[in-house]
């Protein structure tokens, strides 16, 4: 039976590197995708996912297992980093990463999808996060509520509102295409 995040954290605190590696392998991709969908930038997403573990590894890390699940704490750190990146504006990537700089934009190449991504990035943080967790990460309402640290009802209402906003964007876009 696999250990919980909190058990792995306690082992890690005792210096168990395998526990830390297990935690990394379990959560890194999720954190990366969360950051990617919230920022639309693969390089920044990698930085953020990495930084969460650097923060976790610090001996003065503020996570306290008594106060809540580790996953929520990790997403909380990622959320703060996403906000910080967004405040900074467009990310200045290293030149040597240019080829891989935008997985979403580079691989999909669908105009509509790029438009949706743009619309997603323009949503207010709380609405975008609901879409990212429930629609893109396929978390259920309970999990999303735990990560977002809010009631389930709030998740549902934010998700409903966010979907409506995105649908309106799509509708307007479609109407413009018809007009052209």
């Amino acid at each position: 039976m696999s250990r919980t995040d909190e058990e792995l954290f306690l082992l890690m605190r005792g210096g168990d590197q395998k526990a830390f590696a297990d935690l990394y392998d379990r959560r890194e991709r999720q954190l990366y995708r969360y950051a990617l969908h919230n920022l639309g930038d693969a390089w920044a997403a990698e930085e953020i996912a990495h930084e969460v573990f650097v923060e976790l590894m610090r001996t003065d890390s503020r996570y306290d297992p008594q106060r809540g699940p580790l996953e929520a704490w990790m997403y909380g750190v990622a959320r703060n980093l996403v906000r910080m990146f967004r405040r900074r504006g467009p990310v200045q990537e290293p030149v040597d990463r240019a080829v891989h700089h935008d997985i979403v934009g580079g691989l999909i190449r669908e105009e509509n999808l790029v438009a949706l991504r743009g619309a997603l990035l323009e949503l207010p943080d709380r609405y975008r996060e609901a879409v990212v967790l429930c629609d893109l990460e396929e978390r259920n309402y309970d999990e999303a509520a735990r990560i977002m640290d809010c009631p389930v009802g709030t998740v549902r209402s934010r998700l409903h509102r966010a979907r409506a906003m995105l649908s309106n964007r799509l509708r307007k876009r479609r109407a413009m295409e018809v007009a052209v």
């Binding site: 005792g14 210096g15 168990d16 590197q17 395998k18 830390f20 590696a21 990394y24 392998d25 890194e28 991709r29 990366y32 995708r33 990617l36 969908h37 693969a42 990698e46 996912a49 990495h50 573990f53 650097v54 590894m57 001996t59 997985i103 979403v104 691989l107 999909i108 669908e110 509509n112 999808l113 949706l116 991504r117 629609d135 893109l136 396929e138 409903h160 979907r163 409506a164 995105l166 649908s167 799509l170 509708r171 479609r174």
Partner: protein, 202 residues
């Protein structure tokens, strides 16, 4: 309004509209538009999900992180490596034993635990350059601690080895000779005895 909420929920839950809703969608253009837009949204969410799923963590970043972890928790990391070290230690010991066996033809006696030699005995043995036992003190060798045990190492030496210990060697002598060394616990020789069948020395 209720129909639109139902449409929204069913589309995002991946459900097909029931008969009544299907009938409504055929007659209501506005609701049909909502249905189509929501279906389009769900398709695009799927595509975004798939594209993001191609991500693989950077091996270098992971390695860097694990290295940092080892640096931050060094004692425990060493403890975790201990089983490997046990194996390495056992292998090293086995290799050392094999090496000793291989060198055995040259060094016939490395350790004689039945006859340990103390500093006092060394002093008496090597008290004079022509001592009864034939041991010659190595000049300027580090002093022994009181009670420190010595071991007798029998080996073959070239004259140059004796010169390097500070002993006088007849320049005419050039071959190897049998010799016994009194070696301290620090591995440094304190006295030398040349075999009686070796000639040309001293």
């Amino acid at each position: 309004m209720q129909a639109r909420q139902e449409i929204s929920q069913k589309v995002h839950d991946g459900q097909e509209p029931h008969a009544e809703l299907s009938g409504h969608l055929k007659t209501c253009g506005k609701c049909r538009g909502v249905w189509e837009i929501r279906q389009e949204l769900v398709r695009q969410f799927d595509a975004m999900r798939q594209s993001a799923a191609t991500h693989r963590p950077s091996v270098k970043r992971r390695d860097d992180l694990m290295r940092n972890f080892s640096a931050q928790y060094p004692l425990t990391a060493q403890r975790q490596r201990r089983p490997v070290q046990h194996w390495a230690w056992a292998l090293a010991m086995a290799a050392a034993v094999l090496l000793m066996v291989a060198v055995g033809s040259r060094v016939t006696s490395l350790w004689n635990p039945a006859q340990p030699v103390t500093m006092e005995e060394v002093s008496s043995l090597a008290g004079s350059s022509d001592g009864q036992e034939g041991f010659i003190a190595v000049p300027y060798a580090p002093a022994l601690a009181s009670g420190e045990l010595m071991r007798v190492v029998r080996t073959e030496l070239y004259p140059a080895a004796l010169v390097s210990l500070g002993l006088d060697v007849d320049p005419a002598w050039s071959g190897k000779m049998q010799a016994e060394l009194l070696v301290g616990e620090d591995g440094y020789p304190r006295a030398v005895r040349v075999s009686t069948d070796s000639e040309g020395v001293f």
